[in-house]
């Protein structure tokens, strides 16, 4: 019994830990995701203009985030991205309200989900082509990220941002109804990340032999619907954004990060990676 309580508190701690990290990043480094994507846009704008690509702060942040993701997985998406945190907060509030008014939250699940995953690649290619052709810099007022950044920094001069505001509200609704809606289906930076070769050293794996027969708790709670690989498989899905919800859900504490079997030390290990990420972003000049 005491062991059960202990794991429960540990799970709670892991959950609170993630919330605190997300909040801190939201307050202090809210623009990392837009800066990194500005790096992508900058590179293609310069190629379109036949100008050299200079090493500016956007490119630096892009390189830092991509390098970090290659080594440690998409921990940035799960813990540090301000837009992802916003989505988590909106979805959490929606579930909380549903609970208060005793209504079942609407759930969208089905095979179509897998097909919609490709929208983000399409969106990325469209934006990249617009940058390349020089059209992008002439478009203004449509980017929902701009609307988010403006509101977050307390700048409410949103005239001329009607399209952006509409898109932002639609995204918010999507985020509320479907966990990580934006990250999964739309995020162009997420499309870049999932194209990166993530070294599977620090990916999440489970001990399949130890699993309860027929249990799929981890897959069902996963916002990205990933079925975790076995501990011996050197695999890592590009869509895993390392939110580590599965670690908390598994009834047998069967899910670990990396093959070092750092049993129930996920907090320490994640904290270490978060510190490395913050240091790198600081050096890159966020």
């Amino acid at each position: 019994m005491s062991k059960k309580i202990k794991t429960k508190t540990q799970k709670r701690i892991l959950n609170y830990f993630r919330r605190v990290v997300q909040l801190l990043f939201f307050i202090f480094l809210p623009s990392a995701f837009t800066s990194a994507f500005s790096g992508v846009k900058y590179i293609f704008t310069q190629i379109g203009l036949k100008q050299s690509i200079e090493f500016n702060s956007f490119v630096a942040i892009l390189i830092v985030l991509c390098g970090f993701t290659i080594v440690f997985g998409r921990l940035f998406c799960g813990f540090a991205c301000a837009f992802g945190s916003l989505g988590d907060a909106v979805h959490g509030s929606y579930l909380w309200i549903c609970k208060k008014i005793h209504k079942k939250p609407i759930q969208f699940k089905g095979k179509w989900e897998k097909k919609l995953l490709y929208i983000k690649y399409l969106l990325l290619s469209v934006i990249v082509l617009l940058c390349f052709s020089g059209v992008y810099s002439k478009m203004s007022g449509w980017n929902p990220w701009d609307v988010f950044s403006l509101i977050r920094s307390g700048n409410f001069h949103l005239a001329g941002y009607i399209v952006g505001i509409v898109l932002f509200v639609l995204i918010l609704i999507g985020m509320a109804l479907h966990e990580r809606f934006f990250c999964k289906f739309l995020c162009p930076m997420g499309a870049v990340f999932s194209w990166l070769p993530v070294i599977p050293l620090f990916s999440l794996r489970r001990d399949k032999n130890n699993c309860i027969k027929g249990c799929s708790a981890c897959k069902r709670c996963c916002p990205a619907n990933i079925s975790l690989p076995d501990k011996n498989e050197m695999k890592c899905s590009g869509d895993c954004f390392q939110c580590q919800k599965c670690v908390n859900t598994c009834p047998k504490n069967n899910i670990h990060i990396g093959f070092f079997r750092i049993h129930r030390n996920e907090i320490v290990f994640t904290l270490l990676r978060i510190l490395i990420l913050s240091l790198l972003l600081y050096l890159a000049g966020v």
């Binding site: 500005s38 704008t45 050299s52 810099s137 920094s153 990166l196 070769p197 993530v198």
Partner: protein
């Protein structure tokens, strides 16, 4: 593991292409710069004194002195200081920029060189850092507006 290697190879290819592209562009820029300097040198030796006095006339649209301007950036106010020497903008400094995001602001400050080169604040904003660069531009416009030689133009 297969997809890992495919992704690694495509990433390395993209990085390779970008580095190669940069080298080609750097080479092209060098050749253009050499050609430009050569033609400038020829023109200078052809018409030496005349051109210079003309240039002085154009530049004297500003009064010497130090002027300040202010405008809204991404979040807060951006304050700039323009130094006019011998009728032309010699320096443009950011005095304060509260609430600006450093990555965006770092990119935006390159507009200062454009303003000094152009000797006027009528320049394009920096794409990718539109708000911050527009803030600097508008602040510079205000400062240079104060510095404009209105009396001489009336004469």
């Amino acid at each position: 593991m297969n997809s890992f290697w495919t992704k690694t190879i495509s990433l390395l290819t993209i990085i390779g292409i970008l580095i190669f592209y940069n080298l080609v562009i750097a080479d092209r820029n060098k050749t253009e710069e050499i050609l430009r300097l050569k033609s400038e040198l020829e023109q200078d030796s052809l018409q030496s004194g005349v051109d210079k006095s003309n240039k002085d006339n154009v530049d004297s649209r500003y009064k010497d002195g130090v002027y300040e301007g202010e405008a809204k950036g991404f979040c807060g106010q951006i304050k700039v200081q323009a130094v006019i020497e011998k009728g032309s903008v010699s320096e443009l400094k950011i005095i304060s920029a509260e609430g600006e995001d450093s990555a965006y602001f770092d990119t935006a400050v390159s507009i200062i060189d454009m303003i000094i080169d152009n000797q006027s604040a009528d320049v394009d904003t920096i794409s990718g850092a539109t708000f911050s660069s527009a803030g600097i531009k508008n602040a510079a416009k205000q400062a240079l507006g104060k510095a404009e030689n209105k009396y001489e133009q009336k004469d």
